[in-house]
Structures are given as C-alpha cells and as structure tokens.
C-alpha cells in the first residue's frame, strides 16, 4: 500500500504517534513547555550544530499552471534556464560564501529542464561541493537512478497540499495536476537510492491543522517504508509571488512555533528545515526549537547570485515567448520573495551568538561514490 491509500484512510487511522501529534497541536499544553521539550530533544540528537545549505535555481521555465506559484506558466514573468557554465558560476559564488551543500531547484519543463540537463548540473556541482540535492518535477524511479549515480544525495518534493479537492482547484494544468503521482514521489525517490528525502506542505493553501496532520502521517509512513532514507520536513508558509495569489488560510507565528515543536517532539531524529521565507527574528527564535537545516543569503531566481544568464532572459505569457526586450539590469523573476535577506556570513555570525556551531560540510564524496 503506497501512501496514497494510507492518506485516504487517514481520518480513521489512529496511530499513537498521530494522536500525540494532534494533542500537541491542540493547545492543551503551554507553548513554553513544548518548546523546552523540543529544544532538549533537538540538542540530544543533533547537538549544538546547524547545517547550512543554499538553493541554486537553475531554471524558472515551467509547464504547470499552479495558482499560487510565481513560476506558473500563465504568469508573464522573465524566465531563463542557466547553461552549465552559468550554473557553475552561481555554484562557485556559493562555495565562496562557505556552502558545501547545494539544492538545485527548477520549474518543471520537459525541454528546458530535461533529465540529461539535471544530470549534467549535478556532475558539475559535485566537482565543487560534496552534497547536491534536487527540488524538481517528480520522476519515475528509473529516471531518478542516473541522477543518484551522478552524485545527487537528496530529493525534495513538497506535496503543496494534502487535500485532494484543494489540490485539484489549485493545479490547473500540466503534469503537476496528478495528485497521486506527486504524493508517491518520495517513495520512488527512496527506491532510486536518494539518501535524503525531503517533504513539506505549503502552508496557506488549505486548513492548516488538517494539512499538518497529513504531513505528520506522511512522515510516519516514510520512516517505516523508506527506512534507509534520512527524512527532512519543511514548513514553507506562502509568501508574496508573481500572480499575487492570496493565502486562504493564515498560520500565526505562535501556531507555526507550536507546529515545529510538535514535529520535533513526535519525530526526534528527523531533519527540520527553515528557509529564508521566514523573517530573521523568527528564524533566530525557532533555531533552538527543532530546526536542524537552514538556508542563508538565498535567491529564488535563476542567476540571482551572480547575474548569470541575464543575457538570455525572455518574457513569456501563457507559455508563449514574447519578443526579447532590453533587460539590462533586470533579473529573472523569483519564485517567491524571501524574507530573511541577511547574507550568509551574517546568519552564521548570529547562529554562533545563539550557541550553534554552523556546519557547512556534513557529507563526503566517498559516500555513495559512483
């Protein structure tokens, strides 16, 4: 039984863990109590370390129409796919900043973001950093295998929303319309040999308590069925983006904090990720309460770090390329507006003040060498 069937049974399915998770979310216990337990568990399993990574957007071309995403096909935005030299230039910048773990991110486009392109990107980056992960359109297991062979160790795929009706309403066209295909992606990725599997829900699309319960159920399922994979969970909250989609649901900072603590208490050994979607103050506050992976100084537009690819920018409207315009000084359109704009060095400095040892390298070429 894949997670698809498992999710269908979720309302009746009562595991002790999910019951505990519900209880922790309910507000029955004071937040400070949860925070203390979450902090202690995180310290015990991860020590005082914080792993750092950087997203590297290689393309914002996309064939999907998703109402909430800046890269949606029908948004008239500036798009580009970086060539390999440009990808390398962006990566070299990140290496200079200290990063040794890079997350390749791309829209879903069979022509511009092909499997062979991704494979080449991985090979180029692996010459520079030991750890390369991917956040790209879902694939079959057999399509993932060459990417693992090329040296990618992580695969991140957010379900966006675990609520099928909301999912259908938001994903208007393209391969991403297929709810089950996306939902089973983490299992296919684990079968292909990815060492790390990252999941998440885009908070703001559907009622958040149901959403995170499904996310917790998914986590529990993957820990049992993909036992050799290191599972990480992210909690992206909707941010302003092209298309100006308005969140239907708002999760307060208090609720957000309770959610992270509940996850840490229920899953003491998984990785919890905090991106630059959240403001500096909140990231600093949440860091000791369960977070173990953070990005820093991030850009969500291809070429955002060095300006690479600017000469190839083009505007598309509903999938059609418009005549090239003078775009001197313009960058490709970002997926969403980041909130924590601190450069990596400032984040590292702040983490040290908070009592963390920032860890850049936590993987080696010799592991899973091809």
């Amino acid at each position: 039984m894949s997670f698809v069937q498992h999710l269908e049974k979720l309302p009746e399915h009562r595991s002790p863990l999910l019951d505990r998770f519900r209880h922790l979310l309910s507000g029955a216990q004071p937040l400070e109590t949860l925070a203390a337990e979450a902090a202690q568990l995180t310290r015990r399993h991860f020590g005082h370390t914080m792993r750092l990574f950087a997203p590297l957007y290689v393309s914002n071309e996309c064939v999907n129409i998703c109402k909430y995403c800046g890269f949606s096909r029908d948004n008239p935005i500036l798009r580009v796919t970086l060539d390999l030299d440009q990808v390398e230039a962006e990566a070299r910048y990140l290496v200079q900043e200290g990063f040794r773990s890079i997350l390749i991110v791309a829209g879903e486009h069979p022509k511009f973001v092909s499997e062979s392109y991704l494979e080449d990107c991985i090979k180029r980056l692996r010459r520079l950093v030991p750890s390369v992960s991917l956040e790209v359109g879902p694939m079959e297991t057999e399509q993932y295998r060459p990417l693992v062979q090329a040296g990618a160790d992580g695969l991140i795929v957010y379900q966006e929303t675990y609520h099928p009706a909301t999912y259908a309403e938001l994903h208007v066209a393209g391969p991403k319309k297929d709810f089950a295909w996306r939902l089973e992606c983490p299992e296919r990725a684990a079968a292909a040999g990815f060492r790390r599997i990252g999941i998440g829900a885009l908070l703001g699309l559907a009622p958040w308590q149901e959403e995170v319960l499904a996310l917790a159920a998914h986590t529990e399922y993957l820990l049992k069925h993909c036992w050799k994979s290191f599972v990480t969970v992210s909690f992206p909250r909707l941010r302003p983006a092209a298309g100006e989609f308005q969140p239907q649901v708002h999760l307060t900072d208090h609720e957000f904090t309770r959610l992270i603590c509940a996850f840490r208490i229920c899953f003491p050994q998984i990785g919890l990720v905090m991106s630059t979607r959240e403001p500096a103050r909140l990231r600093d506050g949440l860091a000791p309460l369960g977070i173990t992976l953070m990005s820093a100084g991030a850009h969500t537009e291809p070429g955002g770090y060095t300006g690479a690819g600017r000469e190839n920018l083009h505007r598309t409207e509903k999938g059609k390329v418009l005549p090239t315009i003078q775009s001197e000084g313009e960058f490709a359109t970002e997926q969403f507006a980041v909130s924590d704009n601190r450069p990596a060095a400032a984040v590292v400095s702040r983490l040290k003040q908070l009592g963390f040892d920032p860890v850049w390298k936590d993987w080696d070429h010799a592991l899973a060498e091809t």
Partner: protein, 267 residues
C-alpha cells in the same frame, strides 16, 4: 595524563598502543571548536573520534570543513569514524581516503543504514572489518550488543569491540546490560562500551561491569558546561575501574546471616 581521583592506574593497551585513560571522547555536537577543545582537555582522554563526513580529506585546508585543524594530533590519537556509511563498500572507501590523507590507520567503523536510530549494520560491519584488517588498519567496530557478532569480529581481527549501551543520543545508559556482560565475559580483546551513556553513573557502571573503556560524545557535548561534564565522566570512569579491580560483591536477592549452614564449624 594525570588521574582525576589520584587512584592507582595501570596502563592498558589496544593493538600495542598504551593508554592511561579509559575515557574516549567523540567530537560531534559541540557548540564550538573552543568548547570541544576545552572539554577534551578536561576529560584527560587520549583518543578522540571524528566523523570523516565533517572533515576535509582533500588536503586543501577547506575552511568550511576545518574540524581536524582544531584537534591536536600530538596530544590525541585521532580515530576517524565512518558515520554516514550505509555499507561496507562506503566505509572501506572512507577509511582508505582517511589513510591517504595522512590520518592514523585506526578506524572506528560506524555503518548505519538507518539514519534515524543510527543502529549499526552487523553484516556490513563484519565485511568491512575483514577487508580493512587485511589492509593493515586497526579496527574499532561499533556494534549492537551482540555477543556472537563480537566473537566473529575478534576472529576477523578487530582490535576491540564497541558494543552500544543504548542507541546514540538516547541517554538510556546500559539498556543492553545483560548482553554486555556476556560480551565482556567472552572477549579476548578490549571491550569499549559506546553510545547512550547519558550520565557519569552510566560510565562508572560500564567500567564496574568490566569494560576496558567507554566512549562518550553527546552527554559531554550538550552539557551546560561540557568541560565540567568531561571531568565528571573521567572521575566516574576512574572510580568504576578502581571498583572493578578491587572486586565488587555480587548483589543478593535476600539478606543472609554470615554462615547459617557452616557456622557450627567455628563453635
């Protein structure tokens, strides 16, 4: 290295190398390199383990992977561990890389396909031990408290065995006590109890059972004062060993008079 408690202390050996201290310390999870260095000094340890996945083995002095530069190779025997390896092939590759980078040919084998509980794979650990012993490495294999596996590893040439007290980070002490006693009873190599030792009392108990040493990482690294905790562990290890050498009376289930059945012989 001076004794914390000023107790008489005979040196002991692993693979011909002598040690005074029976406390080994891991270098992960500390809040800073300075905290780590201070705690290691305070512990009096002579052997430290370090995760190769954190280290720069390229020789290019990568500033983003400088953990080795904070460890004094003159003061400590640096024993790399292969954490992150899922199978023998990966562990062997890491070990060879470490040796090529100039690290001592001592390896703590940590092979855990399960990244959640980090429990060691017995089959892959045995395979890796066989290969690396043939290549001249001194192997310290981390294992579950499996007495048969411990003997198989001895036969394969492991220099010690390192059975866990309880899973890494669990702080549950000697959960595997019964099995550990069998391992210690049957071992012809030093037994170093590793993982799950959350308090100095756990470490003392390990030494009282007859373990040759313990390895502690989490409990020291995450303590409010890691240096002070390191001293506490060192004292506990010395106390436990001294008690073991003096011989501890066996616990009894019931109270008993001194000589109920044979007392007549003294009348």
């Amino acid at each position: 290295m001076s004794s914390i408690l000023s107790l008489p202390n005979q040196p002991w050996e692993i693979a011909g190398r002598k040690f005074q201290s029976r406390l080994f310390v891991g270098t992960g999870k500390f809040a800073s390199p300075l905290d780590m260095k201070n705690a290691l000094t305070a512990s009096g340890c002579e052997l430290v383990t370090v995760a190769l996945r954190r280290a720069d083995l390229s020789g290019r002095e990568d500033p983003s992977a400088d953990i080795l530069s904070h460890l004094d190779k003159e003061k400590y025997l640096l024993v790399p561990n292969t954490s992150g390896a899922m199978n023998a092939e990966e562990a062997v590759r890491l070990a060879r890389l470490a040796a090529a980078a100039g690290l001592p040919k001592w390896i703590k084998l940590e092979i855990h396909p399960d990244p959640r509980y980090l429990l060691p794979d017995p089959i892959e650990t045995l395979k890796a031990t066989e290969i690396l012993v043939r290549e001249g490495f001194t192997i310290l294999p981390y294992i579950n408290a499996d007495p048969v596996l411990a003997k198989r590893l001895e036969e394969a040439g492991a220099a010690v065995v390192m059975p866990l007290g309880s899973p890494i980070g669990s702080n549950r002490g000697l959960e595997t006590r019964g099995q550990l006693q069998i391992i210690i009873e049957q071992a012809t190599v030093p037994v170093i109890i590793d993982a799950g030792l959350g308090s100095p009392a756990h470490a003392a108990e390990a030494l009282e059972l007859g373990a040759s040493a313990v390895l502690v990482n989490t409990a020291i690294a995450i303590a409010k004062d890691p240096s002070r905790m390191a001293v506490s562990f060192a004292a506990a290890v010395e106390a436990g060993r001294a008690a073991y050498e003096m011989g501890l009376p066996q616990p009894r289930a019931h109270a008993s008079a001194t000589s109920p059945l044979t007392g007549f012989l003294d009348r």
